[in-house]
């Protein structure tokens, strides 16, 4: 914030730097920030639009930027549930009128998308500007942020397709945000006096000690099919003591721990893939930006020369087999490491 007062502050600083009140409690510690330094880092935008940069961007321009820089994670229409929860969906024209998202009451939409929750348009501007795109945060210029936001607002049916969002009309769009009236601070969990009910808890229990109820009502337990979803619990507990971990997964053939503390080949390979940054785009069992390792294993299963071909692909990059997004050359990974990773992938890419 405080973009308004920058010039005033700069003028003050010039005086303060030499004055008796500047940084004098601990002499010599800290120095005066220059106006340029504050401007470089102070990029936040508040709900009252303090800090909002000047600029504008159209839905059309936003669509182009989104397709190039955002769609690989969010889907072309902000609808994708592959990497993150969908940005758009679950809001209606009626919600734009009322400022309350009805699907949050009825539970009629499977996810809670960003537009179903966010009450303040400033939040979206601020976050896109500071943190997006995922792999190149802070690279969008203000006009590009306006454009991407305009495109998202259009997808959410808040603004028409020919809309141009700007610092001049953003306040008007705030009055159309579907969940603008959906937030409450009437609770006891804010540790200050400025908001909330002063810290009064909403749920009350008493420390009854004897005959506190007549029956024990068991409402939920872990279903059988989920017993092994978190791996072998025997391997997640200490080897001595009054208890052991429960054996939930039979040890895989050829993958037994020789001695306790010795990681398996699968564990070594996944650790290597994580260390080299491969897991940023590939999951073991799930697609992220690139295909999952298990999908790769299935595709090349039993093919002659698959290992050599995949090693070459990792080394020099590739595009087209799994979609339009290219995989860059992985020159930071050593040859023997690439071989180890490819062998692990082709062996079926087991997680642990």
């Amino acid at each position: 914030m405080s973009r308004f007062s920058k010039t005033v502050v700069a003028a003050l600083l010039a005086g303060c730097a030499l004055g008796a009140h500047a940084l004098d409690r601990y002499p010599g510690l800290g120095r005066v920030a220059t106006a340029e330094e504050v401007k470089a880092w102070d990029i936040d935008v508040r709900p009252d639009f303090v800090g909002l940069p000047k600029g504008s961007g159209s839905v059309d321009d936003g669509a182009d930027i989104f397709e190039n820089k955002c769609a690989s994670c969010h889907g072309s229409f902000g609808e994708s549930n592959e990497v993150f929860t969908p940005l758009v969906g679950g809001t209606t024209k009626e919600d734009v009128q009322t400022g309350r998202v009805k699907a949050l009451v009825t539970g009629s939409f499977p996810q809670r998308t960003t537009f179903m929750k966010v009450p303040t348009i400033s939040t979206l501007f601020d976050y896109i500007q500071r943190a997006m795109p995922w792999t190149a945060p802070k690279s969008l210029k203000p006009d590009e942020v306006y454009a991407v936001l305009a495109y998202l607002l259009n997808l959410a049916e808040v603004v028409p397709a020919d809309f141009v969002l700007s610092d001049q009309n953003i306040r008007d769009v705030q009055n159309l945000m579907p969940n603008r009236n959906g937030m409450s601070t009437d609770h006891g969990m804010w540790p200050g006096r400025g908001m909330g009910n002063g810290g009064k808890p909403d749920v009350k229990n008493v420390a009854c000690m004897k005959d506190c109820k007549t029956e024990v009502k068991l409402t939920s337990s872990l279903p059988e099919y989920a017993q092994d979803a978190h791996g072998n619990l025997a391997d997640q507990n200490r080897l001595v003591g009054g208890v052991r971990g429960k054996q939930t997964v039979a040890p895989a053939e050829g993958d037994e721990k020789a001695i306790a503390g010795q990681p398996s080949t699968n564990a070594i390979a996944t650790a290597l893939a994580t260390e080299k940054g491969c897991m940023a785009c590939h999951g073991v069992a799930n697609k992220i930006v690139g295909p999952s390792y298990q999908d790769v294993a299935a595709k090349y299963k039993g093919q002659d020369g698959a290992e050599a071909r995949l090693v070459a692909k990792v080394k020099s990059g590739g595009q087209g087999v799994w979609g339009a997004i290219p995989m860059p050359a992985q020159s930071h990974v050593k040859d023997e490491e690439i071989s180890k990773l490819v062998q692990w992938i082709l062996s079926g890419a087991k997680a642990q």
């Binding site: 601990y26 102070d42 508040r46 939040t123 995922w134 540790p191 749920v203 872990l222």
Partner: protein, 444 residues
């Protein structure tokens, strides 16, 4: 395995100090016969004179192990010490399917195997919003701007020269136990409660830095904290907490510098408040007159209520406790004595009392609180218990110094429903069946 043949006394450990796979399978396949055999062997041995046993003694005693018969490793063989290789099961773990990209995910601390109240730094839970970096401390800067007389820059040199304080506090993610709002979803305490850690943090009270800059404490009732990572995550903190002197700009954790995953070289410490406000890689503090409505206060970390509204700026972690052993996914090896142990904590101050039930909440006994009992820190509790082999349901219930008592699932859901995601502090139940297996269950 020789365990079955040469068991001289009660059920005891194999020479390597752990049950073999066969033993554990034997336990699971036919708990009763295994136990019976064990007790038969035990009573036989009890009756036999000590001398008679010496001929066929414990091989861990009779055969001297390599560590008693050879030269050990020299000092500084490992310049930075590591845990024993036998402890490799106790590591941070992800919950499969919880998130789809590791840069915006969470790893859980292995509470089931930890002692006392301090979390080893390498096992501290992780939550990153756009991946972690190992930030060069020589290039790290802390900017203080906004409603201050002098907007200022501090280097790590400056911060380390200021008077430091060290304090023990817990940090819990607001979404801890979030998967369990509606029903049981995960098998062990690592996944149900492992977004929880406690460390001794060392740093500078933020109040001192704001005073150094001449902050306007009258108009500036809110502070924004911002990280230096890709997401440059931001959260609003109330000035009241900073004025209390509790909020710290910390560089130290458990006697050394913060770990990169925990914000090296600088993070904010906001005792009692959910982890998301403890901004890591802290690069900027801004003093302002209104809250900021950041992404993590307007899209995430908002609690959905049954009427379809979201609670915004819900920050305090209310009193909560959990039994860490015996706990879900474990197996009790035999009947007899156990120390039920667990952790209790409150974002509103000290833990005053922890009660433990072994009958699903009908009757309760007061647990022992181990020292130290500190404000907004984990408190370790213990209670003696003898398991008679019958099914039981274990629960713990914390009360803090304000008199607030940790609620049951029934009480919590009556007010907040089941879709809140954040701030689930309900009483946890672990069911132990006749075979000694401990499972995660919910009791209203």
């Amino acid at each position: 395995m020789a365990l079955q043949d040469e068991r001289p006394g009660r059920l005891r450990r194999a020479p390597e100090n752990f049950l073999t796979q066969e033993d554990i399978q034997a336990v699971q396949a036919g708990r009763r016969s295994f136990m019976r055999n064990a007790f038969v062997a035990a009573s036989a041995a009890m009756g036999a004179p000590m001398l008679a046993r010496a001929a066929s003694g414990d091989s861990a005693i009779m055969n001297l192990p390599p560590w008693s018969t050879s030269l050990g490793q020299p000092v500084a063989a490992r310049p930075y010490g590591l845990p024993s290789k036998y402890e490799s099961n106790l590591v941070r773990r992800e919950s499969p399917g919880l998130t789809r990209v590791g840069g915006s995910s969470v790893s859980f601390a292995p509470l089931q195997g930890l002692f006392g109240i301090i979390t080893p730094s390498g096992l501290h839970f992780e939550r990153h919003h756009q991946g972690w970096h190992d930030v060069d401390p020589g290039k790290h800067r802390l900017m203080i701007n906004g409603l201050v007389k002098t907007q200022a820059i501090f280097t790590m040199d400056d911060l380390l020269r200021l008077p430091g304080v060290s304090r023990i506090h817990f940090i819990e993610c607001g979404a801890n136990t979030g998967m369990e709002w509606g029903n049981v979803a995960v098998p062990t305490v690592q996944y149900s409660h492992g977004m929880l850690s406690c460390s001794e943090f060392t740093g500078v009270p933020l109040r001192d830095l704001l005073e150094q800059c001449g902050a306007d404490f009258k108009k500036g009732r809110y502070v924004l904290a911002e990280g230096a990572d890709g997401s440059s995550m931001t959260r609003t903190i109330p000035m009241e907490l900073i004025e209390s002197g509790e909020v710290m700009v910390a560089y130290g954790q458990n006697g050394e510098m913060l770990r990169p995953e925990n914000g090296y070289p600088l993070r904010l410490i906001v005792p009692g408040v959910q982890g998301v406000s403890w901004v890591k890689w802290l690069r900027r503090i801004e003093v302002g007159d209104k809250p900021w409505g950041a992404k993590d206060e307007a899209v995430h970390y908002v609690d959905l209520m049954p009427d379809g509204t979201h609670r915004q700026y819900s920050s305090i972690q209310e009193a909560k406790s959990v039994i860490t052993s015996p706990s879900g996914g474990q197996i009790l090896l035999a009947k007899g004595f156990y120390n039920i142990t667990g952790l209790a904590w409150s974002g509103r101050g000290k833990i005053k009392q922890v009660d433990v039930s072994t009958d699903g909440g009908i009757n309760w006994r007061r647990a022992r609180l181990e020292s130290p009992v500190l404000s907004k820190a984990l408190t370790r509790f213990n209670i003696d218990w003898v398991w008679d082999g019958k099914p039981v349901i274990l629960q713990s219930r914390a009360m803090d110094e304000t008199g607030y008592v940790q609620p049951s699932y029934g009480q919590l859901r009556a007010v907040r429903g089941t879709k809140s995601i954040y701030h689930n502090n309900a009483i946890q139940s672990w069911k132990i069946n006749e075979s000694g297996e401990v499972g995660n269950v919910q009791v209203l």
